[in-house]
């Protein structure tokens, strides 16, 4: 862990550092259908607005930060938001850029990451529909956000949103609650990064993804009849998983193979995993 890159390859690292700014590469990345509602598949950027431009019909209203608002308040909020679509691999915002906007994820998966000057990367989180990001404390983003799949976002201007927080205190409370939840999760991940073995890390990750899959609107965490096993989708690449867990792609790949050989999981391609016994995996995740 924390092995320093010895032979620094500028092309690769700079490519990763600046990521891919060009908007045309949307191919070759799995577009998990469960991650998009039918509405979101339209070409219109106003994917979740009704005829009046209001958010009433938003599919993720019940899980996102808006879920504490009544229809009228939702109207106020919808007036200061605009909708945006990003294709897979596109950058949404970059570390050290001015933090002008807050983003709320409608469909798709986003990854947040931080980088060291030599290109070593840490993925600090994968975000799913209903999650928001961009509420940095400073004036600059402290992370880079990129689309893992095709993503639909609501974007808010930070100054305007701050004013609305003043008018609707319960919105601030809601954001505080969500931020606290994030902070708790990040402490759990520190335990993972600092103290868990590769096997424990991957087991923990798979179980976390079960929860995220379950939160997805069209919920894909398929549970077989009597709770024997779970099927999950992993939209992100092995590189993303490695950078999330503080490992290399080789180690991640090997641990997948080992979990398979040990009879804990089945693999259907690289992006679909069946957890044969979640309870047993949960024990592995804790080192038991």
């Amino acid at each position: 862990m924390g092995y320093k890159k010895k032979h620094f390859t500028p092309t690769v690292s700079i490519a990763r550092y600046k990521a891919i700014k060009s908007p045309q590469e949307q191919h070759s990345v799995n577009n998990f259908s469960y991650l998009a509602t039918d509405a979101a598949k339209s070409t219109s950027p106003d994917f979740h607005r009704d005829a009046n431009g209001a958010c009433d019909g938003c599919a993720i209203r019940h899980v996102s930060l808006c879920n504490v608002l009544d229809t009228q308040e939702l109207g106020t909020l919808s007036k200061i938001s605009t909708d945006h679509r990003k294709s897979a691999k596109q950058i949404i915002c970059s570390e050290d850029d001015p933090a002008d906007h807050l983003f709320n994820i409608h469909t798709g998966v986003v990854r947040l990451s931080k980088m060291l000057p030599d290109g070593r990367r840490q993925v600090t989180g994968f975000l799913f529909p209903g999650d928001f990001f961009g509420l940095s404390c400073g004036d600059l983003y402290s992370f880079t956000a990129e689309a893992v799949t095709e993503v639909d976002l609501c974007r808010f201007s930070r100054p305007k949103l701050r004013a609305i927080f003043r008018d609707i205190p319960k919105l601030g409370e809601r954001v505080l609650d969500m931020t606290r939840t994030e902070l708790d999760a990040s402490h759990a991940r520190m335990l993972l990064l600092g103290r868990k073995t590769a096997r424990e890390k991957l087991s923990t990750f798979l179980l976390d993804m079960v929860k995220k899959n379950a939160l997805t609107p069209n919920g894909a965490a398929d549970e077989t009849s009597d709770n024997q096993g779970l099927l999950i989708d992993l939209p992100m690449s092995r590189t993303d998983i490695a950078d999330f867990l503080g490992l290399t792609i080789e180690t991640v790949s090997r641990q997948f193979s080992l979990l398979h050989k040990a009879g804990h999981i089945e693999l259907d391609g690289a992006h679909r995993v069946f957890l044969k016994d979640p309870d047993q995996l949960s024990a592995l995740a804790e080192g038991l």
Copy 2:
């Protein structure tokens, strides 16, 4: 690195898991004078109250969450808080205990940590005067808090505080700001835990401690005249540092020695460090 403890030694681990509940072992831990105000050295638990029990004279009022309140609001807050003193090594609250209280640190240093069933520990943070903790999102604490030095705390009942948040929205805003800052810091630490080498970890830690020392009331981050070098105190043990950085005590100790041999630091005992060239150390911390 997430090496799993091979030879499980129950006595040690259980001692660490349950930590030391007995209140009488206060000896042998450095009591850094700069961490305590004169008032705090009195035996009275109401160390920062004036004659009316108000917080007007509180030495950390300007850095703690109370700094957005006027005198009257401070009065409201002081009515629902009680003061507590903990000696070094005492537990303040335990993981999975009901989260009834929020704590605000007046003097001293607190560590938050999480544990795995076999005793592996991750210190998720060191807290200094003005910091607060205990605002978990669930009903149970998600961490254990222990006194590193002798500590003075204000304690608030969570339900009562929640009511006050409703009355004084700017207090909620303030807490959100502080929580955001915490979250940013925790993302930076994920980068440290997942991607930095032992030397980079320790260098980063030392520089972080400079900032914390500077925030301390009697500020001990002594800066020599023309910015050549910084002197810092490290109240925590090598074990604490190791568990904070995801390393072993041996590795931490060796890295201290190596930084010394390389001419970057001077050591005065285990708990006082002189950083000869902070800028150079800062480069080391980033892997440059």
